[in-house]
Protein backbone atom coordinates (compact mmCIF):
# COMPACT_ATOMS: atom_id res chain seq x y z
CA UNK A 1 0.00 0.00 0.00
CA UNK A 2 2.77 2.36 0.90
CA UNK A 3 4.33 1.62 -2.44
CA UNK A 4 1.20 2.71 -4.28
CA UNK A 5 1.08 5.97 -2.36
CA UNK A 6 4.72 6.60 -3.13
CA UNK A 7 4.11 5.84 -6.78
CA UNK A 8 1.17 8.25 -6.95
CA UNK A 9 3.40 10.85 -5.39
CA UNK A 10 6.00 10.38 -8.07
CA UNK A 11 3.26 10.45 -10.67
CA UNK A 12 2.00 13.83 -9.54
CA UNK A 13 5.52 15.14 -9.32
CA UNK A 14 6.24 14.01 -12.86
CA UNK A 15 3.05 15.61 -14.14
CA UNK A 16 4.00 18.80 -12.41
CA UNK A 17 7.48 18.72 -13.86
CA UNK A 18 6.17 17.97 -17.32
CA UNK A 19 3.58 20.71 -17.24
CA UNK A 20 6.17 23.17 -16.01
CA UNK A 21 8.57 22.23 -18.79
CA UNK A 22 5.80 22.60 -21.35
CA UNK A 23 4.89 25.97 -19.92
CA UNK A 24 8.51 27.04 -19.83
CA UNK A 25 9.12 25.95 -23.38
CA UNK A 26 6.46 28.23 -24.67
CA UNK A 27 7.64 31.19 -22.70
CA UNK A 28 10.88 31.14 -24.56
CA UNK A 29 9.14 31.73 -27.83
CA UNK A 30 10.01 35.07 -29.21
CA UNK A 31 7.04 37.17 -30.00
CA UNK A 32 4.36 38.74 -27.99
CA UNK A 33 1.18 36.75 -27.46
CA UNK A 34 -0.78 39.93 -27.13
CA UNK A 35 0.44 41.10 -30.50
CA UNK A 36 -0.52 37.79 -32.01
CA UNK A 37 -3.99 37.93 -30.65
CA UNK A 38 -4.74 41.47 -31.66
CA UNK A 39 -3.03 41.19 -34.96
CA UNK A 40 -3.67 44.17 -37.15
CA UNK A 41 -5.83 45.80 -34.56
CA UNK A 42 -2.94 46.33 -32.20
CA UNK A 43 -2.49 49.75 -30.73
CA UNK A 44 -0.15 50.44 -27.80
CA UNK A 45 -3.08 51.02 -25.41
CA UNK A 46 -4.92 47.88 -26.46
CA UNK A 47 -1.68 45.91 -26.23
CA UNK A 48 -0.87 46.94 -22.68
CA UNK A 49 -4.49 46.46 -21.64
CA UNK A 50 -4.53 42.97 -23.11
CA UNK A 51 -1.19 42.15 -21.57
CA UNK A 52 -2.47 43.15 -18.19
CA UNK A 53 -5.63 41.16 -18.72
CA UNK A 54 -3.66 38.10 -19.75
CA UNK A 55 -1.41 38.55 -16.79
CA UNK A 56 1.70 38.75 -18.94
CA UNK A 57 3.32 41.34 -16.76
CA UNK A 58 3.46 39.12 -13.71
CA UNK A 59 6.46 36.98 -12.68
CA UNK A 60 6.79 33.64 -14.43
CA UNK A 61 6.12 31.31 -11.52
CA UNK A 62 2.95 33.20 -10.78
CA UNK A 63 1.85 32.89 -14.35
CA UNK A 64 2.67 29.21 -14.24
CA UNK A 65 0.58 28.71 -11.15
CA UNK A 66 -2.33 30.55 -12.70
CA UNK A 67 -1.97 28.63 -15.93
CA UNK A 68 -1.84 25.34 -14.06
CA UNK A 69 -4.89 26.16 -12.02
CA UNK A 70 -6.84 27.12 -15.10
CA UNK A 71 -5.65 24.07 -16.96
CA UNK A 72 -6.69 21.66 -14.27
CA UNK A 73 -10.07 23.34 -14.03
CA UNK A 74 -10.53 22.96 -17.73
CA UNK A 75 -9.65 26.36 -19.03
CA UNK A 76 -6.76 25.90 -21.38
CA UNK A 77 -6.73 29.30 -22.88
CA UNK A 78 -7.92 30.63 -26.17
CA UNK A 79 -6.65 29.74 -29.57
CA UNK A 80 -4.68 32.37 -31.46
CA UNK A 81 -6.04 31.31 -34.80
CA UNK A 82 -9.64 30.60 -34.02
CA UNK A 83 -11.75 32.43 -31.61
CA UNK A 84 -12.53 29.40 -29.52
CA UNK A 85 -11.36 28.08 -26.24
CA UNK A 86 -8.72 25.45 -26.55
CA UNK A 87 -10.82 23.23 -24.38
CA UNK A 88 -13.66 23.14 -26.86
CA UNK A 89 -11.26 22.41 -29.68
CA UNK A 90 -9.82 19.45 -27.86
CA UNK A 91 -12.91 17.93 -26.39
CA UNK A 92 -14.22 16.31 -29.52
CA UNK A 93 -10.85 15.03 -30.57
CA UNK A 94 -9.52 13.52 -27.40
CA UNK A 95 -11.81 10.46 -27.42
CA UNK A 96 -10.80 9.73 -30.99
CA UNK A 97 -7.11 9.68 -30.26
CA UNK A 98 -7.69 7.70 -27.09
CA UNK A 99 -9.73 5.08 -28.93
CA UNK A 100 -7.12 4.78 -31.64
CA UNK A 101 -4.31 4.37 -29.14
CA UNK A 102 -6.30 1.85 -27.18
CA UNK A 103 -7.19 -0.17 -30.27
CA UNK A 104 -3.57 -0.17 -31.40
CA UNK A 105 -2.47 -1.42 -28.02
CA UNK A 106 -5.00 -4.24 -28.09
CA UNK A 107 -3.92 -5.17 -31.61
CA UNK A 108 -0.33 -5.44 -30.47
CA UNK A 109 -1.24 -7.78 -27.64
CA UNK A 110 -3.59 -9.84 -29.78
CA UNK A 111 -1.03 -10.27 -32.55
CA UNK A 112 2.19 -10.57 -30.60
CA UNK A 113 1.33 -13.01 -27.87
CA UNK A 114 0.08 -15.91 -30.01
CA UNK A 115 2.84 -15.39 -32.54
CA UNK A 116 5.47 -15.10 -29.86
CA UNK A 117 4.36 -18.33 -28.27
CA UNK A 118 4.10 -20.08 -31.62
CA UNK A 119 7.57 -19.10 -32.83
CA UNK A 120 9.04 -20.11 -29.49
CA UNK A 121 7.32 -23.49 -29.47
CA UNK A 122 8.19 -24.39 -33.02
CA UNK A 123 11.55 -22.76 -33.28
CA UNK A 124 13.13 -25.54 -35.24
CA UNK A 125 10.58 -25.85 -37.97
CA UNK A 126 11.06 -24.28 -41.37
CA UNK A 127 7.93 -22.16 -41.10
CA UNK A 128 9.36 -20.56 -38.02
CA UNK A 129 12.45 -19.38 -39.88
CA UNK A 130 10.24 -17.76 -42.48
CA UNK A 131 8.18 -16.13 -39.76
CA UNK A 132 11.31 -14.79 -38.13
CA UNK A 133 12.40 -13.17 -41.37
CA UNK A 134 8.96 -11.70 -41.92
CA UNK A 135 9.02 -10.46 -38.35
CA UNK A 136 12.31 -8.72 -38.88
CA UNK A 137 10.95 -6.95 -41.94
CA UNK A 138 7.77 -5.93 -40.17
CA UNK A 139 9.79 -4.28 -37.44
CA UNK A 140 11.41 -2.00 -39.97
CA UNK A 141 8.38 -0.61 -41.75
CA UNK A 142 7.24 2.78 -40.51
CA UNK A 143 3.56 2.80 -39.53
CA UNK A 144 2.70 5.57 -41.95
CA UNK A 145 4.03 3.56 -44.85
CA UNK A 146 1.99 0.57 -43.74
CA UNK A 147 -0.95 2.91 -43.58
CA UNK A 148 -0.36 4.00 -47.16
CA UNK A 149 0.01 0.41 -48.31
CA UNK A 150 -3.24 -0.45 -46.54
CA UNK A 151 -4.92 2.51 -48.20
CA UNK A 152 -3.77 1.25 -51.55
CA UNK A 153 -4.50 -2.44 -51.21
CA UNK A 154 -7.43 -2.57 -48.88
CA UNK A 155 -8.84 0.80 -49.72
CA UNK A 156 -8.38 1.40 -53.40
CA UNK A 157 -7.85 -2.06 -54.79
CA UNK A 158 -9.98 -4.27 -52.60
CA UNK A 159 -12.33 -1.58 -51.44
CA UNK A 160 -12.68 -2.93 -47.94
CA UNK A 161 -12.86 0.59 -46.63
CA UNK A 162 -13.10 4.07 -48.06
CA UNK A 163 -9.84 5.93 -47.59
CA UNK A 164 -10.52 9.22 -45.94
CA UNK A 165 -14.06 8.20 -45.13
CA UNK A 166 -13.87 8.75 -41.42
CA UNK A 167 -17.06 7.98 -39.54
CA UNK A 168 -17.69 9.83 -36.32
CA UNK A 169 -18.62 8.00 -33.16
CA UNK A 170 -21.60 10.24 -32.88
CA UNK A 171 -23.03 8.71 -36.00
CA UNK A 172 -22.28 5.07 -35.40
CA UNK A 173 -19.98 3.67 -32.77
CA UNK A 174 -19.53 0.39 -34.57
CA UNK A 175 -18.56 1.95 -37.86
CA UNK A 176 -16.38 4.43 -36.00
CA UNK A 177 -14.39 1.60 -34.52
CA UNK A 178 -14.55 -0.24 -37.83
CA UNK A 179 -12.86 2.64 -39.58
CA UNK A 180 -10.20 2.85 -36.90
CA UNK A 181 -9.25 -0.81 -37.15
CA UNK A 182 -6.97 -0.43 -40.16
CA UNK A 183 -5.11 2.57 -38.75
CA UNK A 184 -4.76 0.72 -35.44
CA UNK A 185 -3.26 -2.31 -37.18
CA UNK A 186 -0.91 -0.08 -39.13
CA UNK A 187 0.42 1.39 -35.89
CA UNK A 188 0.48 -1.99 -34.23
CA UNK A 189 2.45 -4.00 -36.77
CA UNK A 190 6.02 -2.81 -36.11
CA UNK A 191 5.56 -2.84 -32.34
CA UNK A 192 3.84 -6.20 -32.45
CA UNK A 193 6.75 -7.60 -34.42
CA UNK A 194 9.18 -6.35 -31.77
CA UNK A 195 7.04 -7.77 -29.00
CA UNK A 196 6.80 -11.12 -30.76
CA UNK A 197 10.54 -11.31 -31.02
CA UNK A 198 10.96 -10.29 -27.41
CA UNK A 199 8.44 -12.82 -26.16
CA UNK A 200 10.00 -15.59 -28.20
CA UNK A 201 13.50 -14.77 -26.99
CA UNK A 202 12.37 -14.62 -23.39
CA UNK A 203 10.39 -17.83 -23.52
CA UNK A 204 13.37 -19.63 -25.00
CA UNK A 205 15.62 -18.13 -22.36
CA UNK A 206 13.30 -19.17 -19.57
CA UNK A 207 13.13 -22.71 -20.89
CA UNK A 208 16.78 -23.14 -20.02
CA UNK A 209 16.21 -22.29 -16.38
CA UNK A 210 16.10 -24.83 -13.57
CA UNK A 211 12.48 -24.44 -12.58
CA UNK A 212 11.43 -25.65 -16.00
CA UNK A 213 13.32 -28.88 -15.48
CA UNK A 214 11.62 -29.22 -12.12
CA UNK A 215 8.25 -28.73 -13.77
CA UNK A 216 8.97 -31.51 -16.24
CA UNK A 217 10.11 -33.77 -13.44
CA UNK A 218 6.64 -33.51 -11.97
CA UNK A 219 5.12 -34.95 -15.11
CA UNK A 220 3.97 -31.80 -16.89
CA UNK A 221 3.50 -31.87 -20.61
CA UNK A 222 5.17 -29.23 -22.76
CA UNK A 223 2.01 -27.14 -22.94
CA UNK A 224 1.58 -27.40 -19.20
CA UNK A 225 5.08 -26.12 -18.57
CA UNK A 226 4.62 -23.37 -21.11
CA UNK A 227 1.33 -22.02 -19.94
CA UNK A 228 1.46 -22.66 -16.21
CA UNK A 229 5.08 -21.85 -15.59
CA UNK A 230 7.04 -20.14 -18.30
CA UNK A 231 4.47 -17.70 -19.58
CA UNK A 232 3.86 -16.01 -16.28
CA UNK A 233 7.57 -15.39 -15.87
CA UNK A 234 7.98 -14.34 -19.48
CA UNK A 235 5.17 -11.82 -19.42
CA UNK A 236 6.92 -9.66 -16.88
CA UNK A 237 9.57 -8.16 -19.16
CA UNK A 238 7.03 -8.11 -21.97
CA UNK A 239 4.67 -5.94 -19.94
CA UNK A 240 7.56 -3.63 -19.13
CA UNK A 241 8.37 -3.40 -22.81
CA UNK A 242 4.77 -2.66 -23.73
CA UNK A 243 4.76 0.16 -21.23
CA UNK A 244 7.81 1.60 -22.88
CA UNK A 245 6.33 1.36 -26.35
CA UNK A 246 3.23 3.16 -25.26
CA UNK A 247 4.80 6.51 -25.95
CA UNK A 248 5.59 5.32 -29.45
CA UNK A 249 2.03 4.13 -29.96
CA UNK A 250 0.70 7.56 -29.08
CA UNK A 251 3.22 9.13 -31.42
CA UNK A 252 2.22 6.64 -34.08
CA UNK A 253 -1.43 7.51 -33.78
CA UNK A 254 -0.61 11.17 -34.27
CA UNK A 255 1.11 10.41 -37.52
CA UNK A 256 -1.37 7.84 -38.75
CA UNK A 257 -4.17 10.37 -38.45
CA UNK A 258 -2.64 12.15 -41.39
CA UNK A 259 -2.73 9.05 -43.52
CA UNK A 260 -6.33 8.14 -42.83
CA UNK A 261 -7.72 11.63 -42.41
CA UNK A 262 -8.82 11.06 -38.86
CA UNK A 263 -9.78 14.26 -37.04
CA UNK A 264 -7.97 13.53 -33.84
CA UNK A 265 -5.49 15.42 -31.70
CA UNK A 266 -2.68 14.66 -34.11
CA UNK A 267 -3.97 16.66 -37.02
CA UNK A 268 -4.90 19.53 -34.77
CA UNK A 269 -1.43 19.50 -33.32
CA UNK A 270 0.26 19.62 -36.69
CA UNK A 271 -1.85 22.42 -38.05
CA UNK A 272 -1.44 24.38 -34.85
CA UNK A 273 2.31 24.06 -35.05
CA UNK A 274 2.29 25.31 -38.61
CA UNK A 275 0.05 28.19 -37.57
CA UNK A 276 2.08 28.90 -34.48
CA UNK A 277 -1.08 28.59 -32.40
CA UNK A 278 0.82 28.06 -29.18
CA UNK A 279 -1.96 27.69 -26.63
CA UNK A 280 -3.33 24.77 -28.59
CA UNK A 281 0.06 23.17 -29.06
CA UNK A 282 0.87 23.55 -25.42
CA UNK A 283 -2.44 22.11 -24.30
CA UNK A 284 -2.22 19.11 -26.59
CA UNK A 285 1.33 18.33 -25.57
CA UNK A 286 0.42 18.40 -21.92
CA UNK A 287 -2.69 16.29 -22.52
CA UNK A 288 -0.78 13.66 -24.40
CA UNK A 289 1.98 13.63 -21.84
CA UNK A 290 -0.67 13.21 -19.21
CA UNK A 291 -2.15 10.20 -21.02
CA UNK A 292 1.23 8.57 -21.47
CA UNK A 293 2.23 9.06 -17.86
CA UNK A 294 -1.10 7.76 -16.59
CA UNK A 295 -0.93 4.63 -18.70
CA UNK A 296 2.67 4.03 -17.68
CA UNK A 297 1.46 4.21 -14.12
CA UNK A 298 -1.19 1.57 -14.82
CA UNK A 299 1.38 -0.65 -16.52
CA UNK A 300 3.56 -0.31 -13.47
CA UNK A 301 0.72 -1.52 -11.25
CA UNK A 302 0.07 -4.49 -13.56
CA UNK A 303 3.76 -5.32 -13.41
CA UNK A 304 3.62 -5.43 -9.66
CA UNK A 305 0.65 -7.75 -9.75
CA UNK A 306 2.51 -10.12 -12.04
CA UNK A 307 5.81 -10.26 -10.18
CA UNK A 308 5.50 -11.18 -6.52
CA UNK A 309 9.16 -10.51 -5.88
CA UNK A 310 8.59 -6.79 -6.38
CA UNK A 311 5.55 -6.77 -4.14
CA UNK A 312 7.51 -7.54 -1.04
CA UNK A 313 9.52 -4.38 -1.40
Amino acid sequence: MRYVVKKIGILLLTLLLVSFLAFLAFQIIPGDPAVKMLGTQATPEKLSALREQMGLDRPMLFRYAVWLKDFVLGDMGTSYSYNMTVGSMLSGKLPITLTLTFLAFIMIVVIAIPFGIYTAKHKDRKLSKVLNAVNQIMMSIPPFFIGILFTYFFGLVLRWFIPGGYISYEMSVIRFIGYLIFPAIAIAIPKAAMTTKLLKDIILEQTKLDYVRTAYSRGNRTNGVLYHHVLKNAMIPVVTFLGMTLADIVAGSIIIEQVFSIPGLGRLLITSISNRDYPVVQAIIVCIAFIVIMINFIVDIVYRILDPRVRGQ
Binding site: L209, D210, A215, S217, N220
Partner: protein, 264 residues
Protein backbone atom coordinates in the same frame (compact mmCIF):
# COMPACT_ATOMS: atom_id res chain seq x y z
CA UNK B 1 12.16 -52.33 -8.86
CA UNK B 2 14.73 -50.62 -11.04
CA UNK B 3 17.22 -52.12 -13.42
CA UNK B 4 19.60 -50.11 -15.51
CA UNK B 5 21.12 -52.26 -18.21
CA UNK B 6 23.96 -51.19 -20.43
CA UNK B 7 23.20 -47.50 -20.35
CA UNK B 8 25.26 -45.43 -22.77
CA UNK B 9 24.76 -41.73 -23.26
CA UNK B 10 26.32 -39.83 -26.13
CA UNK B 11 26.29 -36.13 -26.89
CA UNK B 12 25.76 -35.21 -30.51
CA UNK B 13 25.77 -31.44 -30.42
CA UNK B 14 29.27 -31.06 -31.82
CA UNK B 15 30.81 -32.64 -34.89
CA UNK B 16 32.36 -35.53 -32.97
CA UNK B 17 29.98 -37.44 -30.71
CA UNK B 18 31.09 -37.51 -27.10
CA UNK B 19 30.19 -40.39 -24.83
CA UNK B 20 29.55 -39.32 -21.26
CA UNK B 21 28.27 -42.55 -19.76
CA UNK B 22 29.69 -45.96 -20.69
CA UNK B 23 27.98 -49.29 -20.06
CA UNK B 24 26.29 -48.36 -16.83
CA UNK B 25 24.57 -51.21 -14.97
CA UNK B 26 22.67 -50.94 -11.76
CA UNK B 27 19.98 -52.70 -9.79
CA UNK B 28 17.75 -51.24 -7.09
CA UNK B 29 15.14 -52.93 -4.96
CA UNK B 30 12.23 -51.19 -3.30
CA UNK B 31 13.34 -49.17 -0.31
CA UNK B 32 17.04 -49.28 -1.20
CA UNK B 33 19.25 -46.29 -0.67
CA UNK B 34 21.95 -46.31 -3.31
CA UNK B 35 24.60 -43.66 -3.74
CA UNK B 36 26.46 -42.64 -6.87
CA UNK B 37 29.73 -40.89 -6.13
CA UNK B 38 32.12 -39.13 -8.45
CA UNK B 39 33.71 -35.82 -9.33
CA UNK B 40 32.25 -33.30 -11.76
CA UNK B 41 32.17 -34.79 -15.22
CA UNK B 42 31.97 -38.36 -13.98
CA UNK B 43 28.58 -38.82 -15.61
CA UNK B 44 26.62 -39.28 -12.39
CA UNK B 45 24.18 -36.44 -13.06
CA UNK B 46 23.60 -37.60 -16.62
CA UNK B 47 22.76 -41.07 -15.37
CA UNK B 48 20.38 -39.62 -12.81
CA UNK B 49 18.65 -37.46 -15.41
CA UNK B 50 18.36 -40.44 -17.72
CA UNK B 51 16.61 -42.47 -15.06
CA UNK B 52 14.32 -39.52 -14.30
CA UNK B 53 13.48 -39.24 -17.98
CA UNK B 54 14.68 -35.66 -18.13
CA UNK B 55 17.33 -35.89 -20.81
CA UNK B 56 16.25 -33.83 -23.80
CA UNK B 57 15.83 -36.02 -26.78
CA UNK B 58 17.37 -33.75 -29.37
CA UNK B 59 21.12 -33.82 -29.45
CA UNK B 60 21.63 -36.92 -27.43
CA UNK B 61 21.76 -40.59 -28.13
CA UNK B 62 20.90 -43.05 -25.40
CA UNK B 63 21.44 -46.77 -25.68
CA UNK B 64 20.52 -49.48 -23.28
CA UNK B 65 17.55 -50.07 -21.04
CA UNK B 66 16.19 -48.54 -17.90
CA UNK B 67 13.55 -50.95 -16.64
CA UNK B 68 11.36 -49.52 -13.94
CA UNK B 69 8.72 -51.99 -12.85
CA UNK B 70 8.42 -53.57 -16.28
CA UNK B 71 8.52 -50.31 -18.25
CA UNK B 72 11.61 -49.44 -20.24
CA UNK B 73 11.86 -45.73 -19.46
CA UNK B 74 14.36 -45.16 -22.23
CA UNK B 75 12.21 -46.51 -25.02
CA UNK B 76 8.60 -46.08 -23.99
CA UNK B 77 6.08 -43.49 -25.16
CA UNK B 78 6.20 -39.95 -23.82
CA UNK B 79 2.80 -40.31 -22.23
CA UNK B 80 3.86 -43.35 -20.23
CA UNK B 81 7.02 -41.63 -19.10
CA UNK B 82 5.05 -38.57 -18.06
CA UNK B 83 2.67 -40.67 -16.03
CA UNK B 84 5.62 -41.98 -14.05
CA UNK B 85 7.42 -38.67 -13.59
CA UNK B 86 6.41 -36.95 -10.40
CA UNK B 87 4.22 -39.89 -9.57
CA UNK B 88 6.39 -42.94 -9.08
CA UNK B 89 9.81 -41.45 -9.70
CA UNK B 90 10.54 -37.93 -8.62
CA UNK B 91 13.65 -35.84 -8.40
CA UNK B 92 15.18 -33.19 -6.20
CA UNK B 93 17.83 -30.94 -7.68
CA UNK B 94 20.95 -29.21 -6.53
CA UNK B 95 20.00 -25.56 -6.57
CA UNK B 96 17.06 -24.74 -4.31
CA UNK B 97 17.36 -21.09 -5.27
CA UNK B 98 16.51 -21.59 -8.91
CA UNK B 99 14.64 -24.88 -8.96
CA UNK B 100 11.39 -23.35 -7.81
CA UNK B 101 9.20 -21.14 -9.99
CA UNK B 102 9.68 -17.64 -8.59
CA UNK B 103 6.22 -16.37 -9.42
CA UNK B 104 4.09 -19.21 -8.09
CA UNK B 105 3.11 -19.86 -4.50
CA UNK B 106 4.85 -22.62 -2.58
CA UNK B 107 1.64 -24.51 -1.96
CA UNK B 108 0.73 -24.48 -5.61
CA UNK B 109 4.11 -25.90 -6.53
CA UNK B 110 4.09 -28.65 -3.93
CA UNK B 111 0.61 -29.69 -5.06
CA UNK B 112 1.58 -29.86 -8.66
CA UNK B 113 2.23 -33.57 -8.98
CA UNK B 114 -1.05 -34.25 -7.19
CA UNK B 115 -2.88 -32.05 -9.63
CA UNK B 116 -1.34 -33.78 -12.60
CA UNK B 117 -1.53 -37.39 -11.57
CA UNK B 118 -4.32 -37.82 -9.07
CA UNK B 119 -7.97 -36.93 -8.93
CA UNK B 120 -8.40 -35.12 -5.66
CA UNK B 121 -10.60 -32.20 -4.85
CA UNK B 122 -9.15 -28.81 -4.11
CA UNK B 123 -9.64 -29.23 -0.36
CA UNK B 124 -8.10 -32.70 -0.35
CA UNK B 125 -5.09 -31.42 -2.22
CA UNK B 126 -4.70 -28.59 0.26
CA UNK B 127 -4.81 -31.02 3.18
CA UNK B 128 -2.23 -33.28 1.63
CA UNK B 129 0.04 -30.36 0.84
CA UNK B 130 -0.07 -29.10 4.39
CA UNK B 131 0.72 -32.58 5.61
CA UNK B 132 3.60 -32.91 3.16
CA UNK B 133 5.07 -29.61 4.32
CA UNK B 134 4.73 -30.70 7.95
CA UNK B 135 6.34 -34.04 7.16
CA UNK B 136 9.49 -32.31 6.00
CA UNK B 137 9.62 -30.54 9.33
CA UNK B 138 8.64 -27.07 8.14
CA UNK B 139 6.90 -24.78 10.61
CA UNK B 140 3.46 -23.24 10.09
CA UNK B 141 2.70 -24.97 6.81
CA UNK B 142 -0.61 -23.13 6.43
CA UNK B 143 1.24 -19.83 6.23
CA UNK B 144 3.98 -21.32 4.10
CA UNK B 145 1.43 -22.47 1.55
CA UNK B 146 0.80 -18.88 0.45
CA UNK B 147 4.36 -17.68 0.44
CA UNK B 148 6.68 -17.27 -2.50
CA UNK B 149 10.09 -18.87 -2.92
CA UNK B 150 11.98 -15.65 -2.45
CA UNK B 151 10.69 -15.47 1.11
CA UNK B 152 12.35 -18.72 2.12
CA UNK B 153 15.91 -19.68 2.97
CA UNK B 154 17.87 -22.25 0.98
CA UNK B 155 17.33 -25.01 3.50
CA UNK B 156 13.61 -24.34 3.63
CA UNK B 157 13.36 -24.32 -0.15
CA UNK B 158 15.10 -27.66 -0.37
CA UNK B 159 12.64 -29.10 2.13
CA UNK B 160 9.84 -27.74 -0.01
CA UNK B 161 11.37 -29.47 -3.02
CA UNK B 162 11.47 -32.71 -1.06
CA UNK B 163 7.87 -32.26 0.03
CA UNK B 164 6.84 -31.70 -3.58
CA UNK B 165 8.78 -34.78 -4.63
CA UNK B 166 7.10 -36.91 -1.97
CA UNK B 167 3.54 -35.79 -2.33
CA UNK B 168 2.49 -38.64 -4.62
CA UNK B 169 4.36 -41.13 -2.50
CA UNK B 170 6.79 -42.20 -5.21
CA UNK B 171 8.67 -45.46 -5.18
CA UNK B 172 11.94 -43.74 -5.97
CA UNK B 173 13.40 -40.32 -5.25
CA UNK B 174 16.49 -39.22 -7.11
CA UNK B 175 18.47 -36.72 -5.09
CA UNK B 176 21.07 -34.98 -7.27
CA UNK B 177 23.61 -33.17 -5.09
CA UNK B 178 20.75 -31.84 -3.03
CA UNK B 179 22.91 -30.66 -0.17
CA UNK B 180 25.81 -29.21 -2.10
CA UNK B 181 24.39 -25.70 -2.11
CA UNK B 182 23.50 -25.73 1.57
CA UNK B 183 25.28 -24.94 4.82
CA UNK B 184 26.91 -27.86 6.59
CA UNK B 185 24.45 -27.85 9.50
CA UNK B 186 21.51 -27.81 7.14
CA UNK B 187 23.12 -30.61 5.14
CA UNK B 188 23.05 -32.86 8.15
CA UNK B 189 19.38 -32.08 8.79
CA UNK B 190 18.40 -32.88 5.23
CA UNK B 191 20.24 -36.20 5.36
CA UNK B 192 18.39 -37.11 8.54
CA UNK B 193 15.12 -36.13 6.93
CA UNK B 194 15.79 -38.39 3.96
CA UNK B 195 16.55 -41.27 6.26
CA UNK B 196 13.27 -40.71 8.08
CA UNK B 197 11.36 -40.61 4.83
CA UNK B 198 12.94 -43.83 3.68
CA UNK B 199 12.08 -45.56 6.93
CA UNK B 200 8.57 -44.20 7.18
CA UNK B 201 7.38 -44.53 3.57
CA UNK B 202 9.73 -47.14 2.18
CA UNK B 203 10.79 -44.75 -0.55
CA UNK B 204 13.93 -45.80 -2.38
CA UNK B 205 16.55 -43.10 -2.73
CA UNK B 206 19.18 -42.69 -5.41
CA UNK B 207 21.62 -40.32 -3.75
CA UNK B 208 24.06 -38.57 -6.08
CA UNK B 209 26.97 -36.71 -4.57
CA UNK B 210 30.62 -35.90 -4.91
CA UNK B 211 30.92 -36.04 -1.14
CA UNK B 212 31.83 -39.54 -0.05
CA UNK B 213 31.34 -38.79 3.63
CA UNK B 214 27.71 -37.80 3.07
CA UNK B 215 27.11 -40.88 0.97
CA UNK B 216 28.54 -43.03 3.74
CA UNK B 217 25.99 -41.59 6.20
CA UNK B 218 22.92 -42.60 4.30
CA UNK B 219 23.56 -45.18 1.58
CA UNK B 220 23.65 -48.92 1.95
CA UNK B 221 25.22 -49.40 -1.46
CA UNK B 222 27.60 -47.21 -3.36
CA UNK B 223 28.57 -46.87 -7.02
CA UNK B 224 31.77 -45.01 -7.76
CA UNK B 225 32.01 -43.32 -11.15
CA UNK B 226 34.91 -41.78 -12.99
CA UNK B 227 34.75 -40.21 -16.47
CA UNK B 228 31.57 -42.00 -17.41
CA UNK B 229 32.54 -45.43 -16.18
CA UNK B 230 31.64 -47.39 -13.08
CA UNK B 231 34.88 -47.84 -11.25
CA UNK B 232 33.63 -49.82 -8.34
CA UNK B 233 30.33 -50.73 -6.73
CA UNK B 234 29.16 -52.60 -3.70
CA UNK B 235 28.15 -52.29 -0.06
CA UNK B 236 28.87 -48.93 1.51
CA UNK B 237 30.84 -50.51 4.33
CA UNK B 238 32.91 -52.58 1.96
CA UNK B 239 33.69 -49.66 -0.32
CA UNK B 240 34.62 -47.40 2.52
CA UNK B 241 36.80 -49.77 4.50
CA UNK B 242 38.16 -51.98 1.78
CA UNK B 243 38.23 -50.04 -1.45
CA UNK B 244 39.55 -52.19 -4.25
CA UNK B 245 40.22 -49.65 -6.95
CA UNK B 246 42.89 -47.03 -6.80
CA UNK B 247 40.50 -44.24 -7.68
CA UNK B 248 38.17 -45.17 -4.86
CA UNK B 249 41.07 -45.20 -2.49
CA UNK B 250 42.06 -41.74 -3.61
CA UNK B 251 38.51 -40.47 -3.06
CA UNK B 252 38.44 -41.83 0.43
CA UNK B 253 41.86 -40.46 1.18
CA UNK B 254 40.64 -37.05 0.14
CA UNK B 255 38.09 -36.86 2.92
CA UNK B 256 39.34 -34.58 5.71
CA UNK B 257 40.66 -36.70 8.57
CA UNK B 258 38.35 -35.39 11.29
CA UNK B 259 35.23 -36.37 9.42
CA UNK B 260 36.62 -39.72 8.45
CA UNK B 261 37.53 -40.53 12.01
CA UNK B 262 34.23 -39.49 13.54
CA UNK B 263 32.09 -41.24 10.97
CA UNK B 264 33.93 -44.51 10.96
Amino acid sequence: MLDVIDLNIEFHDHLIPETVVFDFDMHMDAGDIVGIVGESGSGKTMTALAIAGLLSRHDMQKRGKIIFEETDLLNCERAKLRSIQGNEISMVFQEPMTSLNPVKKIGWQVEESLRIHKDFSKEERYEKTIKALADVELDAPEKLYHKYPYELSGGMRQRVMIAAALICNPKLIIADEITTALDVTVQAQIIELLKKVNKRNGTAILFISHDLSLVKQICSRVIVMYQGNIVEQGDAEMIFHHPQEEYTQKLIAAIPKIIRKSKV
